[in-house]
Amino acid sequence: MRVSVYGSGLTALVTAWALADVGNEVLVLPDSATSLAELQRLALPFDEPGLADRLRQQLSNGRLRWCVAESEVFTHGEVHCLALEADALAVGEALVKRLALAASTPIVLVNQSTFPVGSTQHLQQLMFQARSERGLNPDVVCLSLPSFLQEGAAILNFTRPQRILLGTDTNSGLQRVRELLRPFNRNHEQWLLMSTREAEFSKYAINGMLATKLSFMNEMANLADQLQVDIEQVRKGVGSDSRIGYDYIYPGCGFGGLSFSEDVMQLAKTVESCVEDSRLMSAVLDTNRQQKELLFRKLWQYWQAEMRGKTVALWGAAFKPGTDRIDNAPSLVLLQALWAQGVKVRLYDPKAMARVEQRFGQRADLCCCDDPYHALQGADALLIATEWKEFWSPDFSRIAQLMPSKLIVDGRNIYDPSYMKSLGFTYIGVGRSSGFLTAG
């Protein structure tokens, strides 16, 4: 099948690759923020393991092509996949109006962008109207295919989905989209069909639920701090209840990420403006905002507000391991809080440092180090904000040597408090007051 994909984010490129991989002819129109030259060099605006190589393969066999001429991409697709960023609704509106006039009918548009609930219907209406006004056959259908891709695992998420949640308001177009996605629906029947609005809202509700689990667990962790219990033991107890499960209950210094955080914010806004007296989602977000400052606050309390002139090593800036994205990451909040108190930061992150430098520019109180131990030189404390694999088992004696204060504030609970104590470290985790131990 011939497919046109609009966008250059994670969802757009994974969709484009996966569809080309199973034999479709795919044309991609990148969004205006992405440079074609960089795409051609496969310098992607995000880091997804294995994606660049896979794209290269499909580009070289010609089933996947970048395209800048709207006229070509509009007439190419038998299915059009709209996968823009969540804040690009206006761009999407303008785009589908032009598409409506240029493409030949029937036009089948699959909206994968996380736009507000009702947007897919709204886009269909716009296209219908655009064609009707010109006296053209208004045979247009828009379906909603919410994206459930997790950064770092997006390829598998697309090719081996747990379910394919598809929103459609009529039967037309459905057959064509089912055919397009058939190769990814092989293990067992994964179709979940509902209306476009329901599909869009499901996406929001799932993210809302996950965020609620995280914030709930973080609140429990803060209570654990005060009640002298170790939240890590509690987490195992809670997760063992099959009604709750082990996912999304790791306490830590807050969740970030572009799509997840912003979806939850969007949901909170929708809920606030449409429903009276709903406070849960804003509480979830507020808890998370507080949580992002947690490491700073623990350090502030430990140092009794005397922070001026101190130097802190920060391990991890990405919002999660395996990505270079720093959107809404706790590290951003931490950096600003530390700087505001006159603290110098020595940062190490295996992937995200360039993004941090890009965001904040050169500053005297930020030193990006190319090695985690280099970051520890002259540091009065070590903060861990991202649980990169290489942080899990570091050379503790070298840490102790480089940082005589032996103070570690761990935002991801990756170390064992009693072992840290035996090494003579002052170790402060999230919700681990039993591990709140002072050196010597």
């Binding site: 400052e293 606050r297 507000a305």
Partner: protein, 567 residues
């Protein structure tokens, strides 16, 4: 020689007796159809209409001569250049420098002061930005969400008045910031407030020029004790939870305010003129420094007008001279300030303090008793509400009184709740209509009605003579700038009147006396045997001691209904 014996004063007395006392406002308007053109002034977006005053062209000329005779121009220059015009305390009164650009020149004892003023503002800007960026943190590391201004008199009323007036100009970065004002020595405001605030996120501003005002220090000590319930490290408590605004860095340090948290002003700024200084910190927290600087710029614009406009079209001078005319020559017994805008709710209180604390004096600059009236009683209320209360005495009472109507013309242009913009704009129209209607009724009485309507008023008690003089001040809209203009306008009015009355408006010995006696009396309440030898206070003390004794008796406590609970 008292000003009362001076030629200019005598001439006005004679003019009042022979010409003006006999003419009513309605006659004056019949005789002269272009009164508004002759007796109104416009400048910098303000309109001052004095045509509803009981004056004619000659009155104005004579009043201007009085100001000239009193060498007003000399005094204005003396004030602006920093001469020690506060004679009893040997100090300058340079609040005008607080709102002047950096390059302005004024020296106190030969030292230029503008640079210091701007340094102080810059330091304040640093603190304001840290709070707005949510990087000013309480002891537990959480950002500050509530700021409590503890101050009294000028250290309270100015910021309170301005913050109330300018709420709609709240900066985005200040959306989550709650501002509270605590002033009264009895702790009424503080006790309620502290029940709802959280120690982690509360910051106190201690504002006191002398930093020895008992009202403020008593509240501050209570606040400190409240914080200490949660904060064990006294240094963190002081450093993260108190900012001081004062002219006395020594006293601030003594109390424990960290040097970095000390904001300074100077003894040449009177407390009631200090809203332009770091005392305005709550205003800056609300508006941001840009907004606060607009407020200063408005006042500076009024300063320029005051210094340069000829007396006959000089707004502060006219307000002052009309006050003297009404009060000293036409025998009015009081002066009401009626803002027709709820945002200006605290303007009457503010002006009450400004005018009465400044000019409520009975001796002249040479400490001799004066033989004429000085500051009248000033009172007021939001106009439309006052119409249901104090305005009755203006309309139907026995005493001649004067009043100022103040109103912005445009309001509710934006930032209104959904669906309310049109009805609110209609309410604004209604408010303006009421403002104009009241001044018209005060002026004309029944004659404001048509002949037909008048004929219906058959009962004697329904008759209302009018002839109450008023001034109307309109501004295009209420903004930080125009509020600055308004307050500076009245400051200069007070100054001009002080020059006419030959008094020093910048000292306040009465307050000091009260402070001393209160201190003594506080000791007397505790000391059971202390007697003043004056039966009234001794009698009151005996009653207080008696009631207090009963209350400390636990049996008495039980009898009031408190029972031991069962678990």
């Amino acid at each position: 020689m008292s000003v009362r014996q001076s030629p200019a004063w005598k001439a006005i007395e004679q003019h009042a007796a022979t010409v003006m006392e006999k003419s009513t406002l309605s006659q004056l308007f019949t005789q002269q159809t272009d009164r508004f053109e002759c007796f109104s002034v416009q400048a910098d977006g303000l309109l001052l209409d004095i045509s509803k005053q009981r004056i004619n062209a000659q009155t104005l000329e004579l009043l201007v001569s009085l100001a000239e005779q009193q060498r007003l121009d000399h005094w204005i220059e003396a004030q602006f250049s920093g001469e020690p015009i506060n004679s009893s305390e040997g100090r300058a009164a340079l609040h005008t420098v607080l709102r002047a650009p950096l390059e302005s020149r004024a020296a106190v004892d030969g030292v230029e002061v503008a640079a210091g003023v701007h340094q102080s503002l810059d330091k304040m800007e640093g603190l304001v930005e840290r709070i707005h960026q949510q990087q000013w943190r309480g002891y537990s590391g959480k950002p500050i969400s509530d700021v409590v201004n503890i101050g009294v008199g000028g250290s309270d009323l100015g910021p309170l008045m301005a913050c109330h007036a300018l709420e709609e100009f709240r900066l985005d970065a200040a959306q989550q910031l709650q501002l509270h004002f605590v002033s009264s020595i009895d702790g009424s405001q503080l006790s309620e407030l502290l029940k709802h605030l959280n120690q982690e996120t509360t910051l106190f501003i201690l504002s006191s020029k002398s930093f020895s005002t008992i009202d403020t220090l008593a509240n501050a000590d209570t606040a400190k004790r409240w914080l200490a319930e949660k904060i064990t490290n006294p240094q963190v408590l002081l450093q993260q939870h108190f900012i001081g605004c004062s002219a006395s860095p020594e006293k601030m340090s003594q109390w424990g305010i960290a040097e970095a948290n000390q904001l300074l002003f100077w003894d040449w700024v009177g407390g009631r003129y200090s809203v332009w200084s770091v005392i305005g910190l709550p205003i800056a927290l609300l508006l941001g420094m840009t907004g606060f600087r607009q407020f200063l710029a408005g006042a500076h614009a009024m300063d320029l007008h005051f210094r340069s406009a000829p007396l006959a079209s000089n707004m502060p001078a006219l307000l002052a001279l009309l006050g003297v005319w009404n009060h000293n020559f036409l025998g009015t017994r009081g002066h009401a300030v009626l803002p027709y805008d709820g945002r200006l709710k605290y303007i009457p209180n503010y002006l009450t303090q400004l005018e009465m604390e400044s000019n409520g004096k009975s001796v002249n600059r040479d400490a001799e008793a004066v033989d004429y009236d000085t500051c009248p009683i000033i009172w007021g209320e939001v106009g439309p509400n006052a119409q249901h209360a104090v305005v009755h005495v203006l309309r139907q009472g026995t005493q001649p009184l004067s009043c100022d109507f103040i109103a912005p013309v445009l309001r509710y242009r934006g930032n209104t709740a959904a669906g309310t913009r049109d009805p609110l704009q209609q309410q604004q129209q209604l408010t303006l209509a009421n403002c104009l209607a009241q001044s018209r009724v005060l002026m004309l009485g029944d004659q404001a009605l048509t002949a037909q309507e008048q004929a219906k008023l058959t009962r004697k008690d329904q008759h209302y003579p009018g002839n109450q003089a008023s001034t109307t001040l309109l501004m295009e809209s209420l903004t930080p700038f125009s509020l600055g203009q308004l307050v500076a306008l009245y400051e200069h009015k007070v100054f001009v009147q002080a020059v006419i009355w030959e008094i020093n408006p910048f000292d306040q010995w009465g307050v000091e006396l009260g402070k001393q006696i209160a201190h003594q009396t506080s000791a007397a309440i505790q000391d059971r045997d202390y007697q003043f030898g004056e039966s009234s206070t001794d009698g009151l003390l005996a009653f207080i001691r008696g009631v207090a004794d009963q209350k400390v008796n636990p049996q008495a406590e039980l009898n009031t209904g408190q029972q031991e609970g069962e678990i």
